[in-house]
């Protein structure tokens, strides 16, 4: 069952098109991540779902209720959609407790308990309740913003780059906490980010946006392995892309014969491998020969630039290979490359 459905959403700002024909279904209880470079229109889309912007065309439904279509739109305050913006946007003139309780009924004994419960759930100390937003660290502010959005038991939670203002360590801890909180409460969530590793780790469903269009959506692992085009492939991570001839499900390329996921024969196809599918060996002389020209040490893994041997009058191709950081061969070493798994045949 889908909680949120977007149908042919379009939006322009003046003559500039921000969103073109967006279709997306978000299953109930899932975490969907929209990822794309800055300026791709993902925040606009999120604000439209929240009810801060209105589409020029298209339909938006939540749990079967039409939120916006060509003729009408439910205003933001009647949507019951939680929103956590990038910087938290805490009300500066209210204490932490008042911020969290903003969406709760103003009176009632349960209010106090509910605030305490929410603070506990986002791992905020109870004595923070009387603090002011400017006295909190970035991570704490973000947690207050999350608790505030959770307070009204939203039908859908929107998160607009909620972790981007935090430093790296805090970021992954927050991400895990948010994921846990959301699945415990069974809240459908839609997160927007430009960070592809964050997207891959957080998402049940991933959607890639580019220049106002939704390019591809699906399970993160599928998206990583089988991206729709080269640009998407490169956006989701490093990739080895090379021309190949496809015959009976096998690709003939500079790395030798590789099994593919496509049965169609094609003389001038392009295939993609992830660097971790390419293995290199300095001892076993099987597979394709090449020379390491550059070694970028990165701690646990090392990224090596390998130039394949020239074939006839063609210069050798340069490809990126990952290697365990401590055993990586030095620049100038002769290596042999082999592959595992299937190559993905790119469209177009």
């Amino acid at each position: 069952m889908n909680a949120l459905e977007l149908h042919g959403i379009c939006k322009s700002f003046g003559s500039q098109r921000a969103l073109t024909d967006i279709h997306l279904s978000v299953p109930t209880g899932s975490r969907t991540v929209i990822v794309g470079p800055s300026g791709s229109g993902k925040t606009t889309l999120l604000r439209m779902i929240a009810g801060f912007e209105f589409s020029d065309a298209g339909r938006l439904t939540l749990d079967g209720q039409v939120l916006a279509d060509a003729t009408q739109a439910v205003p933001a305050h009647r949507r019951q959609i939680g929103y956590v913006p990038q910087d938290g946007a805490l009300f500066p003139h209210m204490t932490v407790a008042d911020n969290i309780g903003f969406g709760l009924p103003a009176k009632g004994k349960s209010r106090h308990d509910r605030i305490a419960e929410l603070m506990d759930s986002v791992a905020l100390d109870a004595n923070m309740a009387r603090r002011w937003p400017h006295e909190l660290s970035g991570g704490q502010q973000q947690r207050v913003a999350l608790a505030r959005a959770l307070a009204q038991q939203p039908r859908l939670m929107l998160l607009d780059e909620p972790f981007s203002a935090l430093d790296t360590g805090l970021r992954s801890a927050m991400r895990k906490m948010v994921a846990r909180l959301l699945s415990q409460a069974g809240i459908t969530a839609l997160l927007v980010t430009h960070d592809q590793s964050e997207a891959l780790s957080f998402a049940d469903q991933l959607a890639v946006m580019r220049q106002g269009r939704l390019v591809q959506s699906g399970h993160p692992m599928d998206m990583y392995q089988y991206p729709v085009d080269e640009q998407t492939a490169l956006f989701l991570g490093d990739a080895v892309v090379m021309p190949a001839r496809i015959k009976a499900g096998w690709a003939e390329c500079e790395l030798g014969l590789i099994e593919t996921n496509s049965p169609a024969n094609h003389d001038t196809a392009r295939i993609m491998l992830r660097p971790e599918q390419v293995h290199l060996s300095t001892t076993v002389a099987t597979g394709c020969r090449g020379v390491v020209t550059e070694r970028e040490f990165g701690g646990n893994t090392c990224t090596l630039t390998v130039v394949l041997d020239a074939r006839g009058d063609q210069a050798g191709r340069t490809i990126l290979v990952r290697s365990s950081g401590l055993q990586a061969p030095a620049a100038g070493s002769v290596v042999h490359l082999s592959t595992t798994g299937r190559a993905h045949v790119l469209n177009g």
Binding site: F13, R47, A50, G51, F52, E53, F54, P75, A76, H77, R78, R79, Q80, I81, G82, Y83, P85, D87, A89, F91, P92, H93, F102, G103, R148, A149, A151, Q152
Partner: protein
């Protein structure tokens, strides 16, 4: 007119949220309402300009020629131009000297001197000239005009200059020196050019005051356009002669605005590069220079503060208890307060839609609307007053000689004060917060009330206070427009001095100065804040 330049500087330093994100708010009826109201306020602001064009049209070219090309107008023009040409450079030089001494040298007690250089603003201009006239009764004409003008208005240059000197990046001066420039050359070629904006802005402010001021020059019998219009109005009421003089005066003001914006130039004066600037270097003065500097500070302070306070003290002592006619003072105080509060409320409310638009949905229309208000507020009170008199007589007879007309004049003259403050306040309440409140289940109106207006309230109050203080010292428009029997502190003071009863006028002056002190303090504080301290 006084604090806009400074305040605009502050407002510009505040983050303004991108227009793209805020459009959703202005979809539909609420947006149309706000735009409609702002257009209405701005059309009202255009009234004085419309009046100038209207009367010129009505009078016709032949009569305009007869009224404008005559020796009397030439004489006034020469007087006014001489006043501006002599006063402005003196103010600039004095302002730079004092600002440099208090900001960049180790002058003993420079914090105190800096406060004393701002303090003369608390003394209304016509009280300055009152103290000079009662001290030296023979003082009159151009020299007196220049003297009192410099003393009354130099803080308008001192304030922005001191603020700019404080925030200039010292690294630029270090570089200039490392390139082989002597200290004096560094000042001349590097520091002074960076003061250009402050000089232009301050000089414009002083210039507009010179053109608009009535009380100061009337008291020392120096004829400018404004005093001539006033006399003309008194003798022939709403005659074409007064109207044509007002038109010429308005043109002078517009010319001054235009030349200031031309003199600003296109160069960039903001600091290029990131990070915060280092502390300013303090120049050690030699003993002789220190003595000279202290002399300059002392004399300025004596002339600008000592003379008014001494004279006031003298009259208050001479007058004894008799001058404190509470049966007259208290009603004047009450009327001043009532007019001030009503005017401040009206002006602040009128500023809300425009301030709102300029933050939430900035665009070409909003810029045009805003500049209408700025231009009008730079016109002399007497032009605004004449415009309102004319319009009231011809089109709205019932409001002629009522408090409403006076309040309208205040609205036209002081709107930017409220506007600038309010805009800064609304900018501090980013639209995101309002959106947040709506996503948490509050209706747009409720969200506006709970978040934006609550956050903007202190700024709105500060703006209202600025308008209130301006009204308490307003003389010209109040004299022309107020219904019979109105007596504010300023007009009460004026009535007393017109009867040469200087002792009886002293309590009024004292109360006005005391009322102005908070405003002066606020300006001083704000100029420190602009500089990031």
């Amino acid at each position: 007119m006084l604090p806009e330049t400074l305040q605009t500087g502050i407002a510009q330093a505040l983050p303004v949220h991108s227009p793209r994100r805020s459009r959703g708010l202005f979809r539909g009826r609420s947006g149309a309402w706000v735009t409609g109201l702002s257009v209405l306020v701005s059309l009202l602001a255009l009234l004085p300009i419309a009046f100038v064009i209207g009367v010129s049209w009505q009078i016709g070219w032949a009569q305009i020629e007869a009224l404008v090309w005559r020796p009397r107008v030439g004489e006034l023009l020469v007087n006014t131009v001489l006043l501006v040409v002599l006063t402005l450079p003196l103010c600039v030089v004095l302002g730079i000297a004092l600002a440099w001494l208090t900001e960049r040298s180790n002058l003993p007690g420079r914090r105190a001197w800096s406060l004393l250089a701002v303090a003369p603003l608390a003394v209304p201009a016509f009280v300055h000239s009152y103290s000079w006239v009662s001290l030296v009764p023979s003082i009159h004409g151009l020299p007196a005009g220049v003297l009192v003008s410099v003393i009354a208005y130099f803080p308008f240059l001192y304030l922005p200059l001191a603020a700019t000197l404080r925030r200039l990046d010292p690294a630029i001066e270090d570089v200039a020196e490392s390139l082989g420039l002597k200290p004096w050359a560094v000042f001349w070629r590097v520091v002074l050019p960076q003061l250009r904006l402050a000089i232009c802005g301050g000089a414009l402010l002083v210039g507009l005051h010179l053109l608009a001021e009535y009380g100061l020059y009337a008291m020392i019998r120096f004829d400018t356009f404004t005093t001539a219009i006033f006399d003309q109005f008194k003798s022939t009421f709403n005659g074409p002669a007064a109207n044509m003089l007002a038109a010429v005066l308005a043109l002078c003001c517009l010319a001054m605005l235009a030349s200031e914006s031309a003199a600003r130039g296109q160069a960039r004066y903001a600091r290029v590069g990131s990070g915060s600037a280092r502390e300013q270097r303090i120049v050690r003065l030699s003993r002789r220079t220190t003595a000279l500097a202290l002399c300059l500070q002392g004399v300025t302070c004596l002339l600008a503060l000592g003379i008014p306070l001494l004279t006031l003290g003298k009259w208050l002592i001479a007058g004894g208890r008799e001058v404190w006619q509470f049966s007259e003072l208290l009603p004047a105080l009450e009327q001043t307060f009532l007019l001030g509060i009503a005017g401040a409320l009206l002006t602040t409310c009128a500023a809300v839609p425009i301030a709102w638009l300029s933050i939430r949905a900035p665009g070409r229309l909003q810029r045009v609307l805003e500049s209408c208000n700025y231009i009008t507020s730079s016109l002399p009170g007497i032009v605004v007053a004449l415009a309102l008199v004319t319009v009231a007589i011809h089109f709205a007879r019932p409001i002629y000689q009522t408090t409403l007309t006076v309040l309208l004049a205040y609205l036209l003259m002081f709107l930017p004060r409220a506007l600038v403050s309010l805009r800064a306040g609304i900018a501090q309440a980013p639209v995101e917060l309002e959106h947040m409140a709506r996503s948490l289940g509050r209706s747009p109106g409720h969200a506006l009330w709970l978040i934006t207006l609550r956050l903007a309230a202190p700024a709105a109050a500060a703006g209202a206070a600025l308008v209130f203080l301006a009204i308490t010292n307003e003389l010209t428009a109040t004299l022309l427009l107020a219904p019979n029997g109105t007596r504010t502190l300023a007009t009460g003071f004026w009535a007393m001095t017109s009867e040469i009863d200087y002792a009886a006028a002293a309590p009024y002056a004292l109360i006005m100065i005391l009322l102005s002190l908070p405003l002066t303090g606020l300006l001083y504080h704000q100029s420190k804040r602009t500089a990031g301290r």
